[in-house]
């Protein structure tokens, strides 16, 4: 198991978001986490990279309990994790090349020539050649997402965490991003965790899909198992039918 969450609880003030979440992500697979807005999907991702700490329970990544790591160990682990933010979170005062190079500059002993070459390689991988000197504000939404992906893969991570990678994009760009996610798995062999509302996108990129509801894992299975599930709540989400949500509850 490459990423394991055991009985994770997390509250924000009086809002108990995670209530004993258990989740296992297998090496080399792409797992999509779906669920209603506010279910805590992004919170789960942030626990995996140590941006949030659980109130109780364990988050184990690559055999290491994230909440037990000191800063140095956590930074070392983070070099193995790429995080693609919902709105890319590119540094707007920096060029795209500098954005992609940020993680590389934290690798000891890496020469400038290697950094430049790796930046070009990553931008080529996401089909953004020739935009090194441009700034995030000069790019379209789809290009910004791809630049965020280029930054996330620059350090050759073992894990890629995608937070709503296709939200707000047109259908063609959604397909481009979906193909990139599949390509990252096939060409780089990364383990991917995708948080998404976009069920078609989840079908396209996932080996397994997990549904988060009420702070716990409601269901988890292969794409075919999810499509055939007769869980009313899952069906209501997949088919966009609120009446099924009421029946399920």
């Amino acid at each position: 198991m490459s990423i394991v969450l055991r009985d994770v609880h997390r509250a924000f003030g009086r809002n108990q978001v995670l209530r004993g979440l258990d989740l296992e992500v297998l090496d080399g697979e792409t797992l999509s986490i779906i669920g209603f807005s506010g279910a805590g999907k992004s919170v789960v991702l942030k626990h995996m990279v140590g941006l949030l700490q659980p109130d109780s329970g364990d988050v184990v990544v690559d055999g290491q309990n994230v909440s037990g790591l000191d800063v140095r160990e956590l930074n070392r682990l983070r070099c193995d994790i790429g995080y693609v933010f919902q709105f890319a979170a590119l540094f707007d005062s920096m060029s795209i090349a500098d954005n992609v190079a940020m993680g590389l500059r934290r690798i000891p002993g890496m020469y400038d020539e290697e950094v430049v070459s790796r930046v070009r390689e990553c931008l080529a991988l996401v089909e953004l050649e020739g935009i090194e000197d441009r700034y995030p504000s000069e790019l379209s939404g789809g290009m910004v997402k791809r630049a965020g992906l280029a930054r996330a893969i620059a350090t050759k991570p073992k894990y890629l965490l995608y937070d709503e990678p296709t939200t707000g994009l047109d259908p063609v760009t959604v397909t481009v991003i979906d193909r990139l996610i599949v390509r990252m798995k096939e060409e780089l062999g990364v383990t991917g965790i995708v948080v998404t509302h976009d069920i078609e996108s989840a079908y396209a990129v996932s080996d397994r899909i997990a549904m988060l509801h009420d702070g716990r894992m409601r269901t988890c299975g292969t794409v075919d198992e999810i499509k055939e599930s007769d869980d009313l709540l899952l069906r209501s989400f997949l088919e966009g039918r609120p009446e099924l949500t009421e029946m399920a509850s």
Binding site: R78, I81, Y83, F85, F87, L90, F91
Partner: protein, 260 residues
């Protein structure tokens, strides 16, 4: 009934809890920033850029204020002193006031607006657009990357800007005395040197250091804890300017009591 009685109590309770929480967050930020000092490889390359942004870019506004303060000081001193004491004391008043009080405090307040606001707005925008989270995921300590270079730049550059502004204020006071008052250079310089002590400049530098520390730390603190979107950044920026301006005045009184 209970609700109407308890509401003010609840309000005070909530206000108190928020203040204690803010103190806790401030303590966390300070200890984190002190620990982050050892990450020279992160803040070192950004220090010069921040010194330019905090110091060099603030020179025009600081000098603008100093020029007019010097002129007004000379004219008001002349208006107050003429006929009562020798006119050369205009030089004394201009020099002492600019070095000990008006140079540091007026420049400090103007920089609280310029530097404090830009620090809170920049860091706050990075917070609400998840750029600070992105820094963490890329194995950067955000305190070392964002806070330490800004605070060090404030500590190094505020004294430079304030000493420069005080000098320019004295020069314009001198010029105004020559052009608008019936004074000679010799009289002005005599007054300027009359009660001058090197300690005055050290006092101004100590005040300036503390102002630089406060303005950049408060701006970083409110930016770092900004919430929500543009509105949250606006609130953080406003608070940064108001709180750092108030703290400048408190520190001004503190140093006067302790050092004079």
């Amino acid at each position: 009934m209970n609700g109407s009685v308890l509401t003010p109590v609840e309000y005070v309770g909530r206000w108190s809890i928020n203040r204690v929480q803010s103190l806790g967050k401030a303590g966390y930020l300070i200890t984190g920033a002190l620990r982050a000092l050892r990450n020279v490889e992160i803040w070192g390359p950004r220090l010069i850029m921040q010194m330019v942004s905090v110091g060099v870019a603030s020179v025009p506004i600081a000098l603008f204020i100093a020029v007019f303060t010097g002129i007004v000081l000379a004219l008001q001193a002349s208006y107050t002193l003429t006929g009562a004491v020798p006119i050369y004391l205009v030089g004394t008043m201009v020099g002492k006031s600019m070095i000990l009080e008006l140079g540091p405090v007026l420049t400090g307040l103007s920089l609280a607006g310029r530097v404090g606001a830009s620090t809170a707005a920049e860091v706050g925008t990075m917070r609400v657009t998840e750029q600070i989270d992105a820094l963490e995921t890329l194995a950067y300590d955000p305190l070392a990357y964002l806070v330490v270079p800004r605070v060090l730049a404030g500590v190094f550059m505020f004294p430079v800007v304030i000493v420069l502004a005080s000098a320019v204020g004295i020069l314009t006071g001198w010029s105004a005395s020559l052009m608008l008052l019936d004074m000679s250079s010799a009289e002005f310089v005599r007054g300027l040197r009359l009660f001058f002590q090197p300690w005055d400049i050290q006092f101004a530098v100590i005040k300036s250091l503390s102002f630089g520390l406060i303005v950049t730390s408060v701006g970083s603190f409110y930016g770092f804890h900004a919430k929500g979107g543009a509105g949250g950044v606006g609130v953080a920026t406003t608070r940064a300017v108001v709180v750092s301006s108030m703290l400048i005045l408190v520190l001004d009184a503190f140093w006067a009591v302790v050092l004079l």
